[in-house]
Symmetry: C2
């Protein structure tokens, strides 16, 4: 247990170092007296998510619609995975961040769609036989099971590429400079210092006994947290946030991104395949290094909770306007799948 506590302390110190370095007084907005959403304006995440669901699903559907017979097959494959449900956390984070700074849903929707496309591409490619070899995703056969490996790879490529076209072509009411900022962030988030790099490190560490907490954190930041960070930061940029406000959003998102991954590791142990819509217990079976394995289950839960609390503190300067993002942060550790 002595080793466990040491590891835990080291991990927490590593994680919170950057969070604590953040100085809210640099921001323009006054700091409210409480991190809680105002009691006079109760916020319902369910209602909020419901209000966003329709516009997001419509925009996603339109983005992969085939316009000529020759593209029917690839668009069907793209649509199969993009429209397979999912929590749409990245789009919602993007819209919520944009609105927190006074931007509109319309300003952020093309980026919200693009982020879900990128996420979906990463799932299609991760599920391939030469990667995680998963046959089940969100309770349905994975893309390559239906369309074949070749089409699945190409559908992922097309979705990744189209995501950038989508932002460049359809973002309205925002300066071109800000749109380029968003595209640069998106581009980096899938590259060597993003999703793909995190995944390669993950493959390298798989089953390797010497994998350290630092390795695990690097993998999770790049595989998961980076795209969530881009979702929130892009929304903030599009909504008109100042550089220091964007920075506060990035720190919020980095913490919820890590918490998201810790929660995923926990769910792999505690949830059923039915709840998850994918094979549960897979991490154990594949001898994957996870937070529950390194920290134990209860400590992992406490760690996820602490990450979320720290995340929420980053948004304190924005008061009630941060209500949707704060509620999403809570949802990330409390979710059942």
């Amino acid at each position: 247990m002595a080793r466990f506590n040491y590891l835990n302390a080291a991990l927490l110190a590593l994680t919170f170092q950057s969070t604590l370095a953040f100085t809210p007084t640099k921001l323009n907005s006054p700091r409210p007296t409480s991190l809680q959403v105002s009691a006079t304006q109760p916020f319902s995440l369910d209602e909020y998510l419901l209000s966003k669901k329709g516009p997001i699903e419509s925009a996603l559907e339109a983005s992969v619609k085939s316009r000529i017979p020759q593209t029917d097959k690839i668009c069907e494959s793209m649509s199969y995975s993009l429209m397979a449900g999912g929590k749409r956390i990245r789009p919602v984070l993007c819209l919520a961040a944009c609105e927190m700074f006074g931007g509109t849903e319309e300003m952020a929707m093309p980026t919200a769609v693009a982020l879900e496309m990128i996420h979906t591409m990463s799932l299609i490619h991760d599920d391939l036989p030469s990667m995680d070899n998963d046959d089940l995703r969100r309770g349905k056969p994975t893309n390559h099971v239906i369309y074949g490996e070749d089409v699945a790879i190409l559908a992922g490529d097309a979705m990744l590429s189209t995501s950038f076209e989508h932002v460049a072509r359809y973002t309205k009411g925002v300066s071109a400079d800000k749109i380029l900022d968003v595209i640069a962030r998106m581009g980096k988030s899938v590259g060597a210092e993003g999703l793909a790099g995190g995944q390669v490190m993950d493959l390298e560490c798989e089953g390797k006994p010497g994998t350290t907490l630092e390795d695990l954190k690097w993998i999770h930041i790049h595989k998961t947290a980076t795209l969530l960070q881009v979702a929130v930061a892009s929304g903030a940029v599009l909504g008109g946030a100042s550089p220091s406000e964007v920075e506060a959003c990035e720190k919020f998102a980095m913490n919820i991104g890590l918490a998201f991954q810790v929660a995923d590791d926990i769910l792999d142990v505690t949830a059923s395949s039915e709840d998850l819509g994918k094979t549960a217990g897979k991490d154990e079976a594949t001898d994957k290094t996870t937070y529950p394995k390194l920290l134990g289950l209860e400590e992992s839960k406490a760690y996820a909770r602490q990450l979320i609390d720290e995340a929420k503190e980053c948004l304190a300067p924005f008061g009630d306007r941060a209500a949707p993002l704060l509620a999403i942060a809570d949802y990330i550790v409390d979710r059942k799948n």
Copy 2:
């Protein structure tokens, strides 16, 4: 032979329809009296390519340099394929088009790099066992043979994504609106109506007896011509071309793109594996529909030549400034690998 001539005529009519619709008088520049490069200023493609080689290779190398130990593996894999030689036709087309309109090499270099990244990504993914299953590319083992399928897929994803970051972050001296225009073109060129869509159609038609000339043309336009078109059009946009000038460049590039593919089909029949740096005679072995199969070898050569002549006519309004692009057009059908 009657059927052959009919097919050939139909194909030529299809191809030239859009080219002929182009009206040079719409352009601002005066039309020169000859399509040939001025005799007083002889142009050497070899010297031109040599002058571009150094800056392009340096910029490519820098674009995939690992900056932290965790990304060494993925960057090595990206670099392995990106730096494996190749003719760099897309970067050169982009720089030449930019300079034709008075732009500088610096303005277009990030886009030139991005286009080669996209091209390389498409080669890595095309070579995968579940796609063309090729072990040899440019005389070297393919990416997945060296790094494994999983890393090869991820290196491709990272390269595609980084290409957009590269343009957004590093293009200088050009308005943000123009950079967004370039990004939208690049994004579309790999999507359902670009590379990936062309490849899916190609897979669907493979070995199918009913594949028509129209199918073949659609596949080649989307698999090959579109990215060359984006190379020239993006260079033109960055260099300050007017919309009608960009349109002329697009028509030029569409024709050389088709000619490029016809030449590729011809080389697969006539060249050795040693010359090609990849397995020759593969189209015959895989029962692939090609121009030589549909038109015969000699007619395919004549068709490629005619496409190039038509392409060059599109650049007539730009006079001597078009010399590099005109020489590249000739090179495309005259090349030996």
